[in-house]
Amino acid sequence: MLRKKRCVAMLLAGGQGSRLGILTRHVAKPAVPFGGKYRIIDFPLSNCTNSGVDVVGVLTQYRPLELNAYIASGAPWDLDLVDGGVFVLPPYQTGATGEWYKGTANAIYQNLAFIAQYNPDYVLILSGDHIYKMDYAAMLAHHESHHADATIAVRQVPWDEASRFGIMNTDANDNIIDFEEKPKNPKSNNASMGVYVFTWEKLRKYLIEDEKNPNSSNDFGKNIIPAMLRDGQVMTAYSFNGYWKDVGTIESLWEANMDLLTEKPEIDLHDKKFRVYARNLGMLPQHIAATAEVDNCLVTEGCEIRGAIRHSILSSGAIVEEGARVIDSVIMPGARIESGALVKRAIVAENAVVGRGAVIGGDEGLIAVVGQDAQVPEGAQVKPGEQFGEG
């Protein structure tokens, strides 16, 4: 038996994120680069570290190689501990059966034994889909003070978008009285952030029961939460007001990157008291050449900028050659933009090469994407909304 922990976090990182198109062809969504030197999963992992949650199980399933390699020992997030840390938990075979994770609840169900090792009071369920900084300790305190069985983090969303989310209707004491998954006519605009705290014994009970039901889709939003509500368990909503962005689509991923370029970004990555950690590649400092023009950009280590960049994110080791222009775009790690090329309103994925004089994206319309390792030939064009790369 390991030392008892107050809280164990389980991070659902198994989804493909198919709405990210070519960007998740080779990597799972949580491993998609963000903001110059981060990957999406750095945000929930760093939140755990900053909140004092030091056991994190990461549930992987789709294309886990890059994610596994990225997490490795967990040292970048201070999660390489003697009595805890980060653990990658893929689906596994058991004696007679063994199967893929059928749904979010089933993924946790298959790892009940992992959680039980720590005999925690609470289990924190997270996803690897969002960019946000959140103190889970405050949410745990809320859960405790409300003597809740489950606490769901909620955030107000614009009314016209409410029908895209799971919507919580609460009473004056934050108790959830009703939950609707993607309602046509939402009664409130309190959307679930996909961040849950459960009292461990209750979670275990409901996961075991859910597994016995052959008609269940083994999903937290569709099955576990409604079942607990039906049974009259104490369910509270925890309001979160900080920056929170779903980056599940090309457009929202691009937008979230651009949010870092506002005059005072809503998400403060400079804050030393609440650092967002990332695996550091240890590259040379960025070099801005005499021929470069840099206006309103985030540029990171390993970049060599010799061309013109404006209102863009340049990630580790990205190279912009002399005479190339990058505007309103996200250039991911190791990508190279060759001389005379124009990249506008686009995402260029890891290690891609945009050949001389090529044109990616345009003044308006959907975001253009160049996939990982893709090589856009000299003079070629990738129109707005198009995705270039291995299919």
């Binding site: 240890g282 040379l284 960025q286 070099h287 801005i288 470069a292």
Partner: protein, 373 residues
């Protein structure tokens, strides 16, 4: 390279670096936005496959210890081997301050005895170069030398009144050595890096110190070369070498590495220079800022003008500030309207609004750590 261990000496030669070494040893002097001088020999050892590395500290080693930690960033935190930090300590024979490199080695003979590798490479930290320890060790073994000295022919490493110079014959044999000549007579600059069999080193150190000799170069090497009994060979290390022995040389070396080709040659992609990490966000270039020919580490915010300069991690250049031909170390703040020319600002320095610090190229100003100007 399983059979080679490394020793890095971090002790001497910091008189001319002024404020830069007021609170740190030369090994811990920050360089190029994110490194410290010790990162270069240490990374070269790791890249050359050396796993057992002792770092001998002498004075002001607080920053050095903080920087190296457990050696994790260099993959030297393992169980089987790794980084061994060797601070001075007081014993009956040892008064804590070393009289020289030999004395330091003598105080750490227990570490040399305990190690298992057949060969030792020894290096110092006040010359910046890319030592090819693996090739030197192979050369040492093949040539059957007792001692192999690493040298360079880079004229940039030569100094009047300072440095160690050697004569190397065509067959590679070292025939003469001079220490701090007013004008160097011998053609090759000794990089204060050598390779020797571990047991021979233990023997020579013990013998020399028991005879009251404390200096590795002046005593042990000089005797070995002049005595004629030892086979002392020279190994020419390719590439550039910079003596970091004065504020001017520190500044000039930094500025030379702003050049793309010089930098690319000095930092080959397959031999990364490893250093302590700091989790900073990417650097923010604000609208209206202007940056030309500069190196910037992460975590900076640039609102003003930066030209031909090096910004370390977390530096903030406010709107209307102008920084030219300068080096600003970690967490420096240059406030609006301030102007800097040929300045080196040590860590956590603040330059107040409207302040002008204009030095000539031939005499860069150093502003000490934690100052407000």
């Amino acid at each position: 390279m399983k059979n080679v261990m490394g020793i890095i000496y971090t002790g001497e030669r910091d008189e001319q670096l002024k404020e830069l070494t007021a609170q740190r040893c030369v090994a811990a002097v920050p360089l190029l936005g994110r490194y410290r001088l010790i990162d270069f020999p240490l990374s070269a050892m790791v890249n050359g496959g050396i796993r057992n590395i002792g770092v001998i500290a002498q004075r002001n080693y607080n920053s050095l210890m903080d920087h190296l930690g457990s050696g994790r960033e260099w993959n030297l935190h393992g169980k089987r081997a790794g980084l061994v930090f060797l601070p001075p300590f007081l014993t009956k024979e040892n008064v804590g301050v070393y009289s020289g490199f030999l004395d330091a080695l003598h105080a750490n003979l227990h570490y040399l005895r305990r190690s298992k590798e057949r060969y030792v490479v020894i290096t110092d930290t006040h010359i910046l170069f890319n030592p090819q320890f693996d090739r030197m060790a192979a050369f040492h073994e093949e040539s059957g030398a007792d001692l192999t000295l690493m040298y360079t022919r880079d004229p940039g490493a030569r100094r009047n009144g300072l440095g160690r110079y050697i004569q190397v014959q065509e067959d590679g044999r070292v025939t003469a050595l001079e220490v701090d000549p007013t004008i160097p007579h011998l053609p090759c600059t000794y990089l204060e890096t050598l390779c020797i069999r571990r047991e021979l080193l233990i023997h020579l150190v013990d013998e020399a110190v028991s005879q009251g000799q404390y200096h590795l170069t002046r005593n042990l090497l000089m005797n070995s070369i002049n005595g004629g009994e030892m086979k002392v060979m020279g190994f020419e290390n390719p590439g550039r070498a910079w003596q970091i022995d004065s504020v001017q040389s520190y500044f000039d070396c930094s500025m030379e590495l702003l050049d793309q080709e010089t930098r690319a040659n000095f930092f080959p992609a397959d031999k990364p220079v490893l250093t302590k990490l700091r989790d900073e966000m990417p650097t923010r270039h604000m609208p209206g800022s202007l940056v030309k020919n500069s190196l910037l580490a992460d975590g900076c915010v640039v609102e003003g003008i930066v030209e031909n300069s090096i910004l370390f991690r977390g530096v903030h250049i406010e709107k209307g500030a102008v920084v030219r031909n300068s080096i600003i170390m970690q967490d420096g703040l240059v406030q609006s309207g301030a102007e800097l020319q040929y300045c080196i600002l040590d860590k956590q320095t603040t330059v107040l609004p409207g302040t002008r610090l204009m030095a000539p190229k031939s005499y860069p100003i150093v502003v000490a750590k934690d100052s407000t100007v």
